[in-house]
């Protein structure tokens, strides 16, 4: 239980980081960052086999993570920094001219932890497929993880990749969907309804599990279970039932905060709801 409590503390600090980064930059995407915080915290601080000190872009000899939904850069940068990829002080440079922390992830300035640029949606899953294919070809036992959005799943390329991963039996590929039900223009169900997402992934040949995306315990046990079945020939999809804006009351459950920065007063209110656990940047 101690470990779960520790992960919860980290997640709270990461939520503070997200609010601070977006507020300081005056722009960015807090909504989806907050909804995917618990998953990424669990992955980077507990379940992924990685070592920031020996990280290479090729990902040889370790698990790899691909953020397909590149607008979730605030949570991504915070998680990378808090797990040791670069100094937390650098989070201040989010979206600033000359920064390694571009609005959407980039490899141009060599930010450790980032394998590929993302932001134009639907593409990162294909890149993750290529990496998983390479690991299988090299008989490497490590896993490739990826995070996609539910709105992002409207992109046709996601489903091209879904077919491909099943065709090549990429059972070393574990993907999560941040299923918060919101996108820029409104609820996903009214913008372009995805229907029965679980049945869709299963019919594409994937092993698919729905979990509470804010339960670190449930995320942790699910990833552990999925890592036990690499030989079943099926790529894995974790559908994370989440709330956009989770952790900040006025941001929760609405698409309004998909890509909007809080003003000074809103920032103060948001931070008052999130305990500083690891020290602010």
């Amino acid at each position: 239980m101690a470990q779960i409590d520790k992960l919860k503390e980290i997640a709270t600090q990461i939520r503070r980081d997200i609010i601070k980064m977006v507020s300081m930059a005056g722009s960015g995407h807090p909504g989806g960052s907050l909804s995917s915080t618990d998953f990424l915290t669990t992955l980077f601080f507990s379940e992924m086999n990685h070592d920031p000190k020996t990280w290479t872009r090729s990902g040889r000899g370790s698990d790899m993570f691909f953020l397909s939904a590149g607008h979730l850069s605030p949570v991504y940068y915070s998680v990378l920094s808090r797990s040791g990829y670069f100094p937390t002080d650098e989070l201040k440079s989010f979206r600033v001219l000359g920064s390694r922390l571009q609005g959407h992830p980039s490899v141009e300035r060599g930010l450790p932890g980032v394998h590929v640029a993302s932001g134009s949606l639907g593409q990162g899953l294909s890149v993750a497929c290529g990496a998983a294919l390479s690991k299988k070809a090299d008989k490497e036992s490590n896993f490739v993880f990826a995070l996609i959005g539910d709105g992002e799943s409207e992109e046709g390329q996601i489903w091209e990749a879904a077919l491909f991963a099943a065709q090549y039996k990429l059972d070393n590929l574990i993907v999560a969907t941040d299923w918060n039900g919101q996108q820029i223009d409104g609820p996903v169900s009214s913008v372009l309804c995805l229907g029965d997402l679980k049945s869709k992934w299963e019919s594409f040949g994937w092993e698919c599990i729905i979990v509470d995306g804010h339960s670190i315990e449930e995320i942790q046990s699910t990833i552990r279970d999925l890592k036990k079945t690499p030989g079943n020939g099926k790529p894995k999809m974790i559908l994370l039932k989440t709330e956009m804006g989770m952790g900040v009351d006025f941001m929760t459950g609405t698409h309004e905060w998909h890509g909007k920065a809080p003003n000074a007063q809103q920032t103060e209110s948001a931070l008052s709801q999130l305990t500083e656990t690891l020290g602010d940047f």
């Binding site: 990902g59 980039s106 294909s126 294919l133 390329q157 491909f164």
Partner: protein, 320 residues
Amino acid sequence: MKITDKYINTGNKDTRSGFGAGLLEAGRANSNVVALCADLTGSLKMDAFAKEFPDRFFQCGIAEANMTGCGAGLAISGKVPYIGSFAGFATGRVYDQIRQTIAYSHTNVKICASHAGITLGEDGATHQIMEDIGLMRMLPNMVVINPCDYNQTKAATIAIADYSGPVYLRFGRPSVPNFTPENQSFEIGKALTLQEGVDVTVLATGHMVWESILACQKLAEEGISVELINIHTIKPFDKKAVLESVAKTRAVVTAEEHLIAGGLGELVSGVLSREMPTPVEIVAVDDLFGQSGKPSELMEEYGLTSNEVYEAVKRVLKRK
């Protein structure tokens, strides 16, 4: 010596077969070379590679966007992926994928595009692309190569495996004269002077190199001395070689199987207007889609023949 005695057609061959032969050789030389194709394995002559290296060939189906991203993922992991499709589908269809995961992400992916230009013939304009050089050369970090015959395409295919970074390699479907040396070395970005001359510089790329050789011969018979340069690499552009030649001739003709927009002619015009203002005549297609027809008929119809190069030289000489 006549230029047509120096460059002898050893028999018509398609440049896509040069790609297929080069891919096989690159695969034999480097076990990290892998190949991906979007349901056009036979058309791209990738079957020999697929047969010899079944574990390194990945059929991607009719899903070019995913193939492009997969290529990036394989490249990140240390492989040297050659991804193959028709030029239209390999570029325009997946421009954003190339932009984000290959060019911007500096991934070592070789985009191999067959059936480029108008000479794919009867399939018509949906499958002909004459914008691809422009699309690809606009991308930062992208190398753009457009070889002229079978032997040069084979050499380029082998050479790009040793270059670390994104490459666009363009080749075609029709059988055309094969006249450059067998087993030549290929240096990316190094323009090749096929004939020295003093009156005019002809800069040709791809299938138009042979047409330009024929034009040079006819012009030589009239006492016009042409410096003919094969621009097999559009980007990085060999500015030094071109400026040295133009300083001597002060007149330029470009020739390419591509639209004027975004092509070699515009590239050369831009460089010269900034560095050495010079009259330029462009042999290329002006703002049109193609249509069905035999490759030779289409080259004629769209003004991509030795005669057009000849006429362009005559025009530019009057502007000197």
